[in-house]
């Protein structure tokens, strides 16, 4: 028998008995970042495919909420900082080794792009919108002409943003549950699926809605595949990763993960979307809401359970 205990009474706040330095702010931000990445990706993709009018909700309507989503997400990030007045230090350096530095700079690129995208499509929502100053009208005309390059930059940076939300976790080898590169594509897929769900909510045409229901089904299938692969990887790895997987496979986080993320957040909405495609009348808010809920829960559970996985003691 082996017993390993700290006898000097270490009880550092938020570190002991197990790490909990990141509260709700980080998973909420990761969800919002992923969702914004998903919406922007579809907007850019269908613009570049020349299907702006066919998929109007994706290109011209849903992206209007992205600036708000990002601002709320950035505010959550600020709340997470414990030395808030120094936040500008993020922007006095570029550290290629640090995923958080990457994230800060990608947000610096994506946030203004989302505002620009919203601005050049504002007339879709408010047809009588008037910029009032000539310089703004000229700027709008100029930006509309540059839509293709903007869409390219936006599409690529949204993928980086979506992947980064997962890499942020997977770069920490100190937390065995996070230390898998599958989290990058898994969080990107989860963000794309959440983005498709929001577009379904905004879609007025039945054709567009069924298209995004199809896309969503495909992405959720990929997510399920990635989740299975993640656990296979853990179980074939070192003892600390086997223990980390145990948190979701019989451990304290098992029920929330499989019920909220996998069943309610993936399997049920896929089932409802398939029924919708088979001409059953399903209110779109149910599958879309469940997908968003599952995507949020995925971030929360991975974040909280990951902080409990460890190497020592």
């Amino acid at each position: 028998m082996r017993e390993e205990i700290i006898v000097s009474g270490r009880n550092n706040y938020l570190i002991d008995p197990h790490l909990h330095i990141w509260h709700w702010q980080i998973p909420l931000y990761l969800f919002l970042g992923g969702l914004a990445a998903g919406i922007l990706f579809f907007a850019a993709f269908f613009t570049l495919m020349g299907k702006e009018d066919k998929y109007k909700a994706a290109v011209k309507i849903a992206p209007h909420i992205v600036p708000w989503i990002l601002v709320i997400g950035l505010f959550a990030l600020l709340l997470d900082l414990k030395h808030k007045l120094y936040f500008w230090r993020l922007y006095t350096t570029i550290r290629l080794e640090s995923p958080m530095s990457w994230g800060a700079w990608v947000l610096m690129l994506v946030t203004p792009l989302s505002f620009i995208w919203s601005a050049i499509h504002i007339k879709e929502i408010f047809p009588k919108w008037n910029w009032k100053f000539k310089i703004l009208t000229d700027l709008e005309t100029f930006l509309i002409k540059q839509k293709t390059p903007i869409a390219w930059v936006m599409g690529i940076s949204s993928i980086i943003l979506g992947v980064y939300t997962g890499i942020l976790f997977s770069a920490f080898n100190a937390r065995p549950l996070w230390n898998t590169s599958i989290l990058g594509p898994l969080f990107l897929a989860s963000g794309l699926s959440a983005g498709a769900a929001v577009i379904m909510l905004f879609a007025t045409k039945h054709k567009e809605r069924t298209m995004f229901a199809r896309i969503d089904i495909g992405i959720i299938a990929v997510e399920l595949f990635l989740i299975i692969h993640m656990f296979m990887g853990f179980l074939a790895s070192t003892q600390v990763q086997i223990d980390a997987a145990g948190l979701f496979l019989g451990g304290p986080w098992t029920a929330p993960f499989w019920i909220f993320v996998v069943i309610l957040g993936m399997i049920v909405p896929v089932f409802l979307e398939v029924l919708e495609l088979r001409k059953f009348k399903i209110p779109v808010v149910i599958p879309a809401g469940l997908v968003l809920f599952g995507s949020l829960m995925l971030r929360f559970l991975i974040s909280y359970a990951g902080q409990e996985s460890r190497w020592l003691y």
């Binding site: 028998m1 082996r2 017993e3 390993e4 205990i5 700290i6 006898v7 000097s8 009474g9 270490r10 009880n11 550092n12 706040y13 938020l14 570190i15 002991d16 790490l19 330095i21 990141w22 997470d80 900082l81 414990k82 030395h83 808030k84 120094y86 936040f87 230090r89 993020l90 006095t92 350096t93 550290r95 080794e97 640090s98 995923p99 958080m100 530095s101 994230g103 800060a104 770069a171 920490f172 080898n173 100190a174 937390r175 070192t238 902080q307 460890r310 190497w311 020592l312 003691y313």
Partner: protein, 177 residues
């Protein structure tokens, strides 16, 4: 120059003097500690084996905390000592999460804090407070590049281990076994 520490697990009695010495020397906020003592019991009575380890930041040569810091606040000082520049730290917690030894904490003033190997004392030619206070003299500190330093001398003649080297951090705390 490469500062390191060796801790004799056979001499340590687990008195926690090192912990108190550190808290006093470094004005560590109440309720926090930069070093701690781990007691490992192996076996079943009456065949028991005990190991006491005084632990702290491992001042890793390949520090995940320095790597993940988005502002460069966590950095290597002279001799490989891992330090946090308070006026660059935004308190994001990335380094705390990245440390497999859980050696860091968020100081109530906002920045991240941890063991500094008492760099202010080293600069004056003194030993770190924990080493100086140890009643059994179980800790050895010095420069690994200097073959005459106490830590180099003791590592030449004793068997030692480091903590979770498989985490890839290249820790610089050596436990004599």
């Amino acid at each position: 120059m490469r500062y390191a520490m060796a801790i004799d697990t056979r001499k340590c009695v687990g008195c926690s003097d090192c912990v108190v010495a550190c808290q006093t020397e470094n004005n560590v906020p109440i309720g926090y500690c930069r070093d701690w003592v781990v007691e490992v019991t192996d076996g079943t009575y009456p065949q028991l084996e005990l190991e006491n380890r005084s632990e702290r930041c491992n001042h890793c040569a390949n520090s995940p905390c320095v790597r993940c810091c988005p502002t460069g606040a966590s950095h290597y000082a002279d001799g490989g000592i891992v330090l946090v520049a308070h006026n660059k730290c935004i308190g994001c917690g990335a380094c705390i999460t990245s440390c497999p030894y859980d050696a860091r904490y968020s100081h109530p003033d906002g920045y991240v804090d941890k063991c500094t190997f008492c760099i202010h004392r080293i600069k004056k030619g003194l030993e770190p407070a924990c080493v100086a206070a140890c009643p059994t003299k179980c800790m050895y500190f010095g420069d690994l590049d200097d073959p005459k330093s106490p830590v180099s001398e003791v590592l030449k003649v004793r068997k030692y281990k480091t903590l979770i080297p498989e985490a890839g951090t290249d820790p610089q705390l050596y436990f004599l076994i």
